[in-house]
Structures are given as C-alpha cells and as structure tokens.
C-alpha cells in the first residue's frame, strides 16, 4: 500500500503531529511490532523462514556460532571445541559440560546427535544443509554418533573445507533440541515433530511460551540458560502488518521497537529524538533474472545490455533508500571471498550498441513477473522505465508471492524480480544457487536459481564442486571471487542491491542487536532504562 503510506506520511507532516513517546510497555518486557506472517513452524528442523529463524536464534542454541561483527570468526556454542581427522572426513565435537535445557534435563552429546539425526530423518526443507555431506536417512545413525557423554562424531563422504562444515553447524537446522522431552511427546515415530511445531524444547536465553500465528510470539527468560541470563523477563513480538500502524505504536510508546518501517517512515522517525535507528547489512540480495529459454534473452549481448539498463544509483537513492545498498556480485558483503566492485551503471549508449550487435537495434517486448509488495514492485517500475530508454518494452505481470514463485519455479517467466537470502554464512550456499546447474533438463533434480533460469553452467559446476573441498582458505576465497566475476559478466542475473535491515527503537532500549542474518537478531542482552 505505497500510496496509502505516502498519504499518511503527508497527513502527519501537514498536521504537524509530534507525538511524545510515553513508554507504556511494561518495564521488564521488550515489545516489538513485526510482520511475521511467514512463520509456519517452531520446530528448528523445519524452520526455513526468516522470522522463524529469528525466533529460534533467540531461544535455541546451535553447535557453532560466529562473531556478528566479523562473520569469518567462528566459535563454539554448545560445542566447546572440535578436531578434524587426518583424512579430513571426520569432525569430532567436544560438547560443553553442565548445560541444561529449559525443562531441566541435562544437555549431553546424545541430544546433539539426536538433533542432527532427527533433522535428517524428518527430511524437512532445510535438511539438505546436513545431508549435503553425504549423509542419508539410511546411514545417518552411523555418520552422526555420540561416542561419549560429551563427544559427537560427524563423518562425511569427502574431505570438505572445515569452515564450510562449521558454517552449516551455525544454521537453525543445527539447533540442539531436548531429546528426552521430545521422546515424551513423540507420536507415531515423528520425533515429536507435530508437538514441537507449536511448542518449545531448547536451551537458549529465552523459552517460547506462546505463538499465535499472525498475532503474537511470547518469549520468557529461561532460568536454566547456561550463558548470561537476559536482563528482561519477557520479549514479545506483535504481528502488525501495516507499517504506518507500526510507526504509530512506536511513537505512542505502545511498542519498544518497530521492525518494518518503509523508507519514508524511517526518514520521518529519524527526526524524532525519542527514537533511535539501528541498521545491519543482511545476507539477502535483490536481483532480477533472464530466463534463458527465451531466445532473445539467451543472447550474451542482451544479458550484458540489461546490466547497463538499470539506474542503480537512482533506485538506491529513492525506493531502496534506507533499505539496501548497491551490490552486484552473488556473495553479499561480509562473506568469504565476496566481490564488492560495482562495475555496472546506467549506460544507455553502450546498451543500445550491445542490443544492435545482438540483432535487436529497435529493442523488443518482454514481461516481468513481479510480486506486488514493496520494495519489489517499486523497483520493477523503475527498471521498466530504464529498459524503455534502450527500446525494451517491459510489461509488468503483478501477482502475490506464491503466484510469481510458482511460475518462476516452473521456468515459465521471461524476467523475474526477487530477493535471495543466504541459507548459512558459507559462500557455498550462494555459489551453488547462482552458479551451479548440473542438469538443465526440466526434470533436473537440483533446482537452483541457475536452473530456474535455464542457464547451463558446465564449467562453473566443476568450480562450485571444487571450492567446497579446498582447505586453504585464501585459495578458496580466490575461487569464489573468480566465480562471482564470471557470473557477473556472463550470467543471466542482474544483481542490484544487498538488503539493509533497519529497526526503529525507543530511546530507552539498550543492547538490541541486529546481526548479519535473521537468526543473529538477538534480544537476550536488551535492557531498558
């Protein structure tokens, strides 16, 4: 509802409303206004949505964590330390002693092995993060084993780069769950999955007391937590879909944090001295892509021309202001080997020359599937105008998220605009999706973004596979740099921006953390003056 929001902002401005912050929320509770209609489960073995990952990040502990200020620094969380076998195919994790779950049950190596095995056996969407190491439902009990009260052995089919393995252990799917509690709630051998979808069995700083879909999430301090206990007794997320309403609630002091303000609202609240803003670059990219099944779009010159027909700077200053920064490579800033050059800018003459070379001096007609939400829809409109300068008439086909996605996954689009978030902090996650397509047939089993755009990548496939086996980190980084440059120059992806997340907080909120991913948006340290 962009017009609605614009209008509201204008009204507020005209009326000269300045609402004093009243801090009406309870002193021991953090209240956030947030759109979390994507949450469909609380089971860490199934969670694969951004909002769900954030809730899990605050309530479960994973095996490994990373420094949110320097993603390249890994540290143990539930694991105290780890060692790698000589052949590089086995990692042994030593588990911290004396930890407890919120239920009071002790946390042992058994729980860790159970959690990872469970994720593989349940085989929900994020299970591949663990199974990609050659682990299957059949062999998982041998491959992931507790070999003592506080020791877990993780065996793989190949000597993968250890950093790759460890980053996968920082993902939500590697959260440690309370095996005893889950077995008590097991039904038909489902590892307690049905129960855990709406309940809690973790050891994190907060425990989840209640989740009502599209309404509220209530987290309470876990007094059994092994780390520094949260200062606040409760953290509550309220689902507020309308961003203008979020702003109102924040300014009235009915919430402490507004999480989804639009660019104009951020602009407006930044003038309010009772409100502070916090920003973090996220591992999410905004891009549009060209389906290579379309003969025109498959021409290399056309692919290149498109990259010169986007006014990146203008969009960054308007629609994406406060929401994103220019970025053109497939690894977001902060990832190992990320390329931060932005060689492409709007150059109509060059684009026209390329189009002429491709045999389309007068341009052509094309469609773009666009999800009708901001900022995607706004970006699509801007791109439409930019492409027109080069003679390309682009028709926007609006739809809701599931609709456009269905078409995209069926490879029936011409152009598709969307966003892509990294699944874990290792560069392989995006290298695989943007640069790997081992079987370009319609039935191809690996449905990466390269596959969705029917882009055949025989050479890149080999590079992607080689990079996860490279144990020399510097060499590995170089491999990803090369792949990014290759995809940037020849690929069917026009990568434009990296997402910046902005939270608007009441002035009295301290130590609120926005990390590089959603599961590192942490409220455990928050206090209120």
């Amino acid at each position: 509802m962009p017009r609605l929001r614009d209008f509201l902002s204008a009204m507020v401005f005209v009326a000269g409303l300045s609402v004093p912050a009243l801090a009406a929320t309870p002193a021991d509770t953090l209240v956030q206004a947030w759109q979390f209609d994507d949450i469909i489960t609380l089971d860490p073995a199934e969670i694969f949505e951004l909002s769900g990952a954030e809730v899990a990040g605050n309530s479960y502990e994973r095996l490994i964590g990373y420094d949110i200020n320097d993603v390249s620094k890994l540290h143990g969380v539930v694991a105290e330390s780890w060692s790698v076998s000589e052949d590089g195919k086995t990692v042994t994790f030593k588990i911290r002693e004396g930890r407890k779950f919120a239920s009071g049950n002790p946390l042992t190596a058994n729980d860790v092995a159970y959690s990872l095995q469970r994720a593989v056996l349940l085989d929900k969407s994020p299970a591949f993060i663990i199974t990609q190491f050659g682990i299957t439902k059949e062999n998982v009990k041998d491959k992931i084993k507790a070999t003592g009260d506080y020791e877990v052995v993780f065996s793989m089919d190949k000597p993968y780069a250890i950093s790759f393995v460890l980053y996968c252990m920082t993902a939500t799917v590697a959260s440690v769950v309370d095996s005893k509690l889950l077995m008590e709630n097991e039904k038909d051998g489902d590892f307690g999955h049905e129960w855990l979808r709406t309940h809690y069995a973790g050891s994190g700083p907060f425990k989840i007391r209640d989740w009502r879909a599209n309404e509220v999430i209530v987290m309470e301090r876990n007094d059994n937590y092994g780390g520094d206990k949260p200062a606040l007794a409760r953290a509550i997320y309220r689902h507020i879909p309308e961003t203008a309403t979020q702003r109102l609630l924040l300014e009235k002091g009915d919430v402490d944090v507004a999480r989804n303000l639009g660019p104009e609202e951020i602009e407006a609240v930044s003038a309010n001295d009772q409100i502070q803003l916090q920003r973090a670059a996220k591992g999410t990219l905004y891009y549009f892509s060209l389906n290579q099944k379309n003969e025109i779009l498959a021409k290399p010159q056309v692919r290149e021309a498109m990259k010169y027909l986007v006014d990146y700077d203008a969009i960054a200053d308007t629609i994406m202001k406060n929401l994103g920064e220019k970025h053109q490579a497939f690894l977001p800033k902060g990832f190992l080997g990320a390329v931060n050059d932005t060689p492409y800018k709007l150059d109509v003459e060059k684009a026209k020359a390329l189009l002429a070379e491709a045999g389309h001096p007068e341009g052509f007609n094309i469609t773009m599937d666009v999800r009708s939400t901001q900022p995607i829809a706004g970006m699509a409109e801007a791109i439409q105008q930019n492409l027109a300068q080069g003679g390309i008439k682009m028709e926007i086909i609006p739809g809701d998220g599931k609709q456009t996605l269905t078409k995209y996954r069926a490879r029936q689009h011409d152009l598709y605009i969307g966003q892509w978030g990294a699944d874990y902090q290792d560069p392989h996650t995006n290298a695989q999706t943007f640069a790997s397509n081992p079987d370009n047939s319609d039935e191809g089993p690996s449905k990466t973004l390269a596959w969705r755009n029917a882009w055949d990548t025989p050479e890149l496939n080999k590079q992607v596979d080689a990079a996860i086996l490279e144990s020399d980190t510097a060499k590995r980084a170089k491999m990803y740099e090369d792949m990014q440059k290759e995809v940037m120059e020849t690929g069917p992806f026009v990568i434009m921006f990296q997402q910046i997340e902005v939270a608007a907080l009441s002035k009295n909120v301290k130590n609120f953390v926005l990390g590089p991913s959603f599961d590192t948006n942490i409220v455990a340290g928050v206090s209120k003056d």
Binding site: L4, F7, L8, M11, V12, A15, L17, V19, A24, T25, P26, T29, V31, D37, I40, T41, F48, E49, D123, K124, S125, A127, F128, R197, T198, R212, A213, N214, E215, V216, V218, I236, R238, H239, I240, P241, E242, A244, T245, L248, L249, E251, K252, D254, G399, D400, G401, K402, Q403, L405, T406, K407, R409, D423, P445, S446, K447
Partner: protein
C-alpha cells in the same frame, strides 16, 4: 405458525446443503485453478525436489482432481477441514479462535449502527427535505464512499495518536494479555464472566474505535434504508387515519409507522451484520485485529488452501444462517407472510 416454522427449517436445511456443496465445489475448483502451488506454502522456496515431491504426495495433490474433491467432501462433513499450513493447527480450531474476535467486533459495530442509524433515518424521513435530512444524507454518503481503511487510519491518528482517548491496534494491552482464559473467545464477555473488570475496560478501549468505524459504515446504510422505508410508510393511508383519529405525531411515527417499517428493516440490519462479519478485512488489517477476515486474507496470500476452504465455508454457513434468521423475523413481525 408451527407449520411455517417447520417449513422454514426444512428450507433452511435444504438451502444449507445446497449452499455448502456449491461453496465446497466452487472454492475447491478455484483453489485448484489458481496458478499458485500449495506445496510451496509447506516446503518454502528452497526445498530440495525430493522433499517437494514427498509433500505433494502427502497433500494428496498427485491424485486426480475428482478424487481429491471427494476426499475433501468426506472430511469436511465430519468437520475435518485439515490442518492449516500457516498456524500448524487444525483449521476448525483456528476458526474457533479467530471467528469470535470478528463476531465481537461485528456485533458491536451493528449495535452502534442500529442504535444511531434507525433514529437518524426516522428523523430524516419525518423532516424530509430539512437541513437534518440533508445532514443525514451526507453522513450516509461519506460512510458509503470513503474507503474504510483510510477512515480507520485517520481515526487512529486522531483518537489514538493525537488525543489519546482510546487504545491502539490489537485487542488488549500487552500487560493485560493472558489474564483471561478464553471461554467464548469474545474478550468483552470472557472478562466479565471472570470478573476481570480492568481487562474488560482495556478491551473496550481497544474495540471501541474499530467497532465505531464498522458502526459508522453500517449506520450509513441503515439510516438511508430506514429513511426510505419510513417515507414509504408515512404516505400510507393508515398513517393518515391515525392522524385523523387524533393520535400524537410521535405515537404515529414511532408506534405505527416504524413498526411497519421495521419489517423490511430487520432484513437490512441482519444483512448488514452479515456484511460486517465477512467484510471487515480491511478494518482488521488496519487495527491488527486477529479475526477471521485477517485469517482468510493471510491464508489466501500464502496459498494455505485448507484454511481458505474452511474459512470460506464458515462464512458461507453464517451467511445462509443469517438469511434464515432474517426470514424468520420477517414472518414474526409481519403476520401476512405467515399464511402459506
């Protein structure tokens, strides 16, 4: 009367059955025709193909359409609408949770609309052409033509943000949440039943704005209809007769004319109630009101087909039910309609 009621019941059941089957078939077909893949709602964007295939099978989407429909009908008859993807709960349980919030809001809205709308309409009719009549007509026009979400945001800005007279979006302040255990699901009722007076007043301060807004919306309609029904009655002979007999004007208007105008008016009020029950989606969004409208919109956007089908059915049943109620009331109020 007994016979008439019996007939109505039979008609009701027939109408219900036909409507249900029709609704089931229509929503089912639409649900399957829309270019949205319900499997995606379950597995998300990045699930590997084998997970996708398994879920597709679990949802029964690999079966022929007619078989899928048959299975769905069989389940629906037993009240099993399946599980909602979004909430992880059985759809029926979700409806039990979200519908009371909508009922509470729509009921209060209709009450407000009726209590104010009927007298306004009567006055406007009695003084047709006067300034008061003009004002009532303008009020009606505005209520009818201004988008309700816009009015909602403006009302929030004024009464909540600027004046601070009422509480903001949501059903309760955070501090009062969890003090009341849901019995009817309607907070105003539950809080009174459990003697939680603070919670009651807090709930009132939250509901008053959205309910007034819906009230205004139905007031606009109700007052306009009242006016036209009354104008019609006031020109009837029995009114003239009553006046000739020397009855006071207020007695003529309120006792005689309104009583007769009430017959069609009841239908108007009941239908406007039904409209509020199904159509408060935008209000629920603006006020972050966790009702059935919000539930349905959300499910639609997320291709959560079980929830969409379940919620649509419930709304359909309610609509049929309210139609029958208005029918019955019509018979009660107007003896002429009772003769078969």
């Amino acid at each position: 009367m007994v016979l008439a009621t019996g007939l109505t019941l039979v008609r009701f059941l027939l109408m219900l059955a036909v409507t249900l089957v029709g609704l089931l078939a229509m929503t089912f077909v639409i649900g399957r025709l829309v270019p949205i893949d319900p499997v995606l709602a379950v597995v998300g964007d990045r699930a590997p193909p084998q997970v996708y295939a398994r879920v597709r099978q679990e949802l029964g989407l690999d079966l022929p359409l007619i078989q899928q429909f048959w299975i769905y009908c069989k389940q629906a008859i037993t009240g099993d609408f399946g599980r909602s993807v979004l909430t992880s709960n059985p759809v029926l349980e979700d409806i039990g949770r979200y519908f009371p919030a909508t009922i509470e809001l729509a009921t209060l809205g209709t009450l407000i609309g009726t209590i104010i709308g009927v007298p306004l309409g009567v006055f406007a009719a009695v003084r047709a052409g006067s300034l008061l009549d003009q004002i009532v007509r303008v009020i009606g026009l505005v209520g009818y033509s201004v988008p309700i979400f816009w009015l909602g945001l403006m009302a929030l800005l004024l009464f909540y943000a600027k004046l601070g007279w009422v509480a903001g979006p949501g059903r309760l302040d955070i501090a009062y949440d969890y003090l009341v255990t849901p019995v009817t699901g309607m907070l105003l009722v539950d809080s009174l039943l459990q003697g939680e007076i603070d919670v009651f007043w807090n709930a009132v301060s939250h509901i008053i704005l959205p309910a007034s807004l819906l009230g205004y919306f139905s007031l606009a309609y109700i007052s306009r209809m009242t006016r036209s029904f009354m104008l019609n009655e006031l020109t009837q002979e029995y009114v003239t007769t009553a006046r000739v007999k020397g009855l006071s004007e207020s007695r003529v208007v309120w006792r005689h004319a309104l009583r007769n105008a009430a017959v069609p008016l009841v239908t108007v009020i009941v239908l406007s109630y039904a409209t509020l029950l199904e159509g408060s989606v935008l209000t629920e969004t603006v006020f972050a009101w966790p009702g059935l409208g919000a539930y349905l919109t959300n499910s639609l956007q997320n291709a959560d087909m079980n929830a969409v089908l379940g919620a649509t059915l419930i709304i359909g049943v309610t609509f049929v039910g309210l139609n029958v109620v208005s029918d019955l009331l019509y018979r009660l109020l107007d003896p002429r309609t009772r003769t078969p």
